[in-house]
């Protein structure tokens, strides 16, 4: 049936912030399911008796899959209490992805805010393994404050192999890193649009200002990908919850080329 879920065993759980954890799930041996094709897709994760919540793929190989889960609602608050050895119930993958194969040879400009960094981590992990396929990779990540920074372990590696720009909106005086809005950092980078593809994910307001910044830097709308977060219930284009301006975020998205969704209304 359409809404059947498959159990995945948690093999690793890594604390990211006060209320956020990175989970690694192992692919069930017998199941013939494909975990994911390219980054950007999402799964619906369920807690029997509480409900389901959508999570985009945060890293994925042929044997495992990772999700970044923040305790925000009933389902997620339950999920973050689970431990290695416990099971998560998944259905998916759903939705569109970043067309990574098609983008080979390009330089990537990856811009994320807050939990919106999670699907972009999927992109960077993908590129890590196929580094030679892509030109330069510029990553710009903004978080509210230093305590909210996600994927610190990865950041160390990315700082070496990519052009990583990490910033926080506000921080105590003792903080040594960069402070300021991520859009500002992007703007100051001086990058042009030549041979580049931008990928943007974060809160709606951050997406809006980032697009404006990219426009100023000369990016065309078909050079930009955005990924939206909406309420997803069915994941298959039936329930209507995720629809904006006639687009199903679950099926036509969550990853859209910006020229396709420019000017959409809530």
């Amino acid at each position: 049936m359409l809404f059947n879920a498959t159990p995945f065993r948690i093999v690793k759980k890594e604390k990211q912030t006060e209320d956020t954890y990175l989970f690694r799930l192992e692919k069930p041996k017998k199941e013939k399911i494909k975990l994911c094709y390219e980054p950007g897709e999402f799964f619906l994760v369920s807690v029997p008796g509480i409900g389901e919540a959508p999570f985009s793929v945060c890293a994925c190989s042929k044997d495992f899959i990772e999700f970044n889960i923040r305790g925000l609602g009933d389902v997620t608050n339950h999920l973050i209490k689970l431990k290695p050895g416990d099971y998560l119930w998944l259905r998916g993958p759903y939705g569109t992805s970043y067309p990574m194969k098609e983008l080979k040879g390009n330089s990537l400009v990856i811009i994320g805010g807050g939990t919106g960094v999670a699907p972009l981590r999927g992109v960077l992990k993908y590129v890590e393994e196929r580094r030679a396929d892509y030109d330069r990779v510029h990553a710009f990540f903004g978080f509210r404050d230093p305590n909210e920074i996600l994927f610190k372990k990865d950041m160390k590696l990315w700082n070496r192999i990519f052009d990583l720009n990490l910033t926080v909106d506000k921080a105590p005086k003792s903080y040594k890193g960069r402070v300021g809005l991520v859009t500002k950092v992007v703007e100051e980078s001086g990058l042009n649009n030549k041979n580049k593809i931008a990928m943007v994910c974060g809160p709606p307001i951050m997406i809006k200002f980032t697009i404006q910044t990219l426009e100023k830097m000369g990016f065309h709308h078909d050079q930009i990908f955005v990924s939206f977060e909406r309420r997803m219930k069915c994941g298959v284009g039936m329930c209507g919850h995720c629809m904006i301006s006639g687009k199903y975020v679950c099926k036509d998205g969550p990853v859209f080329r910006y020229n396709k969704v420019k000017g959409i209304r809530e």
């Binding site: 049936m1 219930k233 209507g240 006639g246 209304r265």
Partner: protein, 318 residues
């Protein structure tokens, strides 16, 4: 070329075609509604039921799984769908056209809803022509409805003229007497002057009607083509057993777009109103090359404030 059936033989005909299954038809109780018929004499073809037939294809509440939290390896147990073959008699053209639109959502290439699929495969559609239009709110004449049915009845006084719209339909009436007639098309008082509303998103005509709205969701509940739903888990008092079910929802409710953490994307009433109408007349067409509205007028007639989106559209300034 169709067939004729004398009215006094209708019940006999219906009982033959619905043998072994359920007959669903408009029945007059406190209001007129589609029901499984128990007594053929209850069938009433005066007026169109305010509630469309969609509930027979996707019920207001549909159990998906039995939940058993004590069984760690198998907490979900799929609910088996059982459906008897069914015949709907007395549906209107708008009812059946509504199904054509819902097919696009529930029987898409990639994903099919099991209940809907089974219900569609198991239901014969016997329609009745609207002559005259059964409600002052009907405006289907403006909506290019398709002749979609297995059989279509037209009242000729003491008999029905019947036309088949499918192979299945043909076999049902093969034994009836041939008759030559052309069914008149439906005429409506009410009109929708334009269906292309793309330029009028910011027209002030929206505001007046919108201001009356209570966000009660009656319009979507009665719509032939609205079937948005929520998925809900509910546990019994023992907190171990329960159900996961689908339940109709409405884009007119404030929390329809609420995400974990509390953000709501369509917070303003006016955006929800416009979303409903733009979905009906523009967004759906962009995807499927047809309108999502059948002009049944049910959203107007069922609205406690009689909010009428055709008035809004007919009043756009050019």
């Amino acid at each position: 070329m169709g067939k004729v059936l004398e009215k006094k033989r209708l019940n006999e005909f219906l009982s033959k075609v619905s043998k072994g299954g359920d007959l669903i038809a408009p029945v007059k109780r406190d209001t007129l509604r589609f029901e499984i018929v128990k007594d053929f004499n209850d069938i009433c073809l005066e007026g169109r039921p305010l509630f469309p037939v969609k509930k027979f294809f996707s019920p207001a509440k549909e159990d998906l799984f039995n939940l058993n939290l004590t069984n760690k390896n198998k907490p979900f147990d799929e609910e088996k769908i059982k459906l008897k073959p069914r015949v709907i008699f007395g549906g209107r053209l708008c009812d059946f056209n509504g199904l054509l639109k819902l097919d696009k959502l529930f029987l898409s290439e990639e994903y099919q809803d099991d209940y809907y699929k089974l219900a569609r495969e198991n239901t014969l559609l016997l329609g009745i022509n609207c002559d005259p239009a059964p409600s002052e709110y009907c405006f289907c004449e403006s909506m290019d409805l398709e002749k979609y049915y297995d059989l279509f009845f037209h009242d000729m006084g003491d008999k029905y003229y019947i036309e088949a719209g499918s192979e299945k339909g043909k076999t049902l009436i093969i034994d009836l007497e041939d008759y030559d007639f052309t069914i008149p098309s439906i005429k409506c008082e009410k009109k929708l002057y334009t269906k292309d509303i793309s330029k009028y998103y910011d027209d002030s005509a929206w505001d007046k009607e919108n201001d009356k709205c209570l966000s009660c969701g009656k319009c979507t509940a009665h719509c032939t083509t609205c079937l948005c739903f929520d998925m809900i888990d509910e546990l019994e008092a023992d907190v171990k057993h329960g159900k996961r079910f689908k339940e109709w929802d409405s884009c007119q409710f404030l929390n329809f777009t609420e995400v974990a953490g509390g953000a709501i994307f369509r917070k303003d009433r006016i955006n929800r109103f416009k979303h409903r109408i733009y979905h009906k007349l523009q967004y759906f067409r962009e995807k499927f090359d047809m309108d999502m509205c059948t002009g049944c007028g049910r959203c107007i007639e069922s609205c406690p404030r009689l909010i009428d989106f055709t008035e809004v559209i007919n009043n756009f300034k050019d």
